[in-house]
């Protein structure tokens, strides 16, 4: 079970302030959607929660079940609870998909090897569920996968690793409608009282298939509006530009460095 609390988070990338004080709380069992125009800091927030060293926290905290995780290394965070499906997953041809997932499971199991046969059985079942060609188990990790195949492979990893807190950064981008439905099926299969999730997306489309509990809109490195699923539907009609206008007085433009 994981409760994520982010308080007044300010983050720099390079020398530039990207996040200007983000506040966010995700309770166990909840799925939140984070929407916003390109370049507003959605990936920055996702990567900062995971601990990507390219992003520097200058103020604020990230709490997971009452524990500040900002001092934890990336792999510690992963072993504790956090999973990040990346916008651009890496290709590592020299390790097979199956071996990689097995190694990740071993690492989470206090270094004790996870029995191979049950693992392979589970992998096979999840691959079938996500309609991934069984041959991909023995292929190099993401090697020569299409964009859509990589996304599906991220969901496969999530289903195998069973994190308590998943962040899915534009898991829907580059997917056709069939692939989107499969990915949504995977996310919905994870839904439980012990799983919480932050779905970052640019479009409302994914939210038709995975209905979020809460929707947040981010602009200029801040969450400027939160609401129910209807917020996403409204946004789809009006577009970001109009929202930006209506919020104009509340939003600080030009990324003021405080």
């Amino acid at each position: 079970m994981s409760k994520l609390e982010i308080r007044n988070l300010k983050v720099n990338a390079g020398d530039e302030r990207i996040l200007n004080g983000v506040n966010l709380q995700i309770n166990p069992g909840e799925i939140h959607a984070l929407m916003g125009p390109n370049g507003t800091g959605k990936s920055t927030l996702s990567e900062t929660i995971m601990g990507n060293p390219l992003y520097e926290i200058v103020d604020g905290q990230i709490w997971l079940d009452g524990q500040d995780i900002t001092e934890m290394s990336v792999d510690e965070r992963a072993r504790t609870a956090v999973f990040l499906a990346m916008q651009y997953p890496m290709e590592v041809a020299g390790i097979s998909n199956a071996d990689f997932i097995h190694a990740a499971l071993n690492a989470r199991n206090q270094g004790q090897p996870v029995a191979v046969l049950p693992f392979l059985k589970q992998l096979k079942a999840n691959m079938e569920f996500l309609e991934i060609n069984p041959e991909y188990a023995d292929r190099g990790l993401n090697a020569d996968f299409s964009g859509g195949e990589k996304k599906r492979n991220e969901i496969l990893q999530m289903m195998m690793l069973r994190p308590e807190m998943a962040i899915l950064d534009e898991i829907d981008s580059g997917l056709d409608i069939d692939a989107l439905k499969i990915v949504a099926k995977g996310i919905n299969a994870m839904r439980s009282t012990t799983f919480s999730c932050l779905m970052v997306t640019h479009y409302q489309r994914l939210l038709n298939y995975v209905v979020p509990d809460v929707v947040h809109i981010m602009m200029d490195g801040r969450i400027v509006k939160s609401g129910g699923p209807e917020l996403a539907t409204d946004l789809e009609k009006t577009g970001y530009a109009e929202l930006e206008e209506t919020l104009g007085s509340e939003t600080s433009h030009g990324n003021s460095l405080e």
Binding site: N52, A78, M86, M90, V92, G94, I101, A104, A107
Partner: protein
Amino acid sequence: MAIPLNKTTTASYPRILGIRYDPAAFTLPDSSSAAWDWEANAEALQAINAAGGTVRRINGATAELSGLPQLLASTDNQFVQQHLQNPVQGMVISLPDRAEITPALNLTLRTESTLPVEWTVWFDLGDHSRLTTKLTLDLAGEVPQSNCLIGGTLADESNLTLITDTQSHQATQSLLLGDFVSARDANLDWSLWPQTKGQLLGDLNVTLAGTGSRATLNLARYGYQDDWVGIRGKIKHLGQHTFSRINMRGVLYENSRVNFTSIGQIDHGASDADADQESRLMTVEPHAKGSVNPVLVIDENDVRAGHAASVGQYDEDEIYYLQSRGLPMATAKQILIDNFMEPIWRLRNGEVG
């Protein structure tokens, strides 16, 4: 005492582009009297004998070896000359025409000596013959210096797949010389893992003399504390429609130094030659240093030639991706190191299988 050099030739120490070394460090002080043994798998020995071929130890004679006197006469490499002016110690593997040997020959030369070691492993393959050899040179004692020459002649349409591992138990100064000449439509696949500790200087040469001959040189090296490695691989195209590939990869730990030079030379007349090379080093630790120098020397118009080279650390983004799944730094690094070396192992294993 240094060996008296043959003053009548113009041989000189190879100028290994980009690699600075001291020739004296790799010149054996006197002719070797180190004791050594060899062993090979009976299955392959029987198959070779049945086909009329031989695998035998030599102590001294050179004249009988096809190609060796020619090499001595023609080489411009002073190390090769010094090597051949001493009594030749080592192994000769010869196959008559049309001998196709199915079981792989696993041949090991081992010494537990404390004296310098000088070995020659020479292949003499007849027309249409075929052989796979896994050759291990094992400096198991406290060998201060070694000088090993591996080479031979591949007659028309013969095929040699050679996997060469060298290892030492102690830091040593090793010289690794290679010299193969291949005739029409002959093929050489040579994968090397020279892993002797200490200083290693390699000069590996293949001459594609006949029309349609082909050679691939794959080399992997891991550098550890105080290792200094300089290796040059050179494939010379003389014949038309010849084909060559050089792939070298190194992983550098601690304060190791590893330098690779690869040369594809296409002489005038070698039309429709195809030469390509790729050399890459991964520096795992900040004090490790290395260089790669790919060189193409082309004296013919109608050819295909290319090279790729890189020296760099592992990719931080890839480390991050692996860590984000819970893998500790050390495991993530190891995966990327194996990933980096994988193309060489794949070539090597493909050849065995």
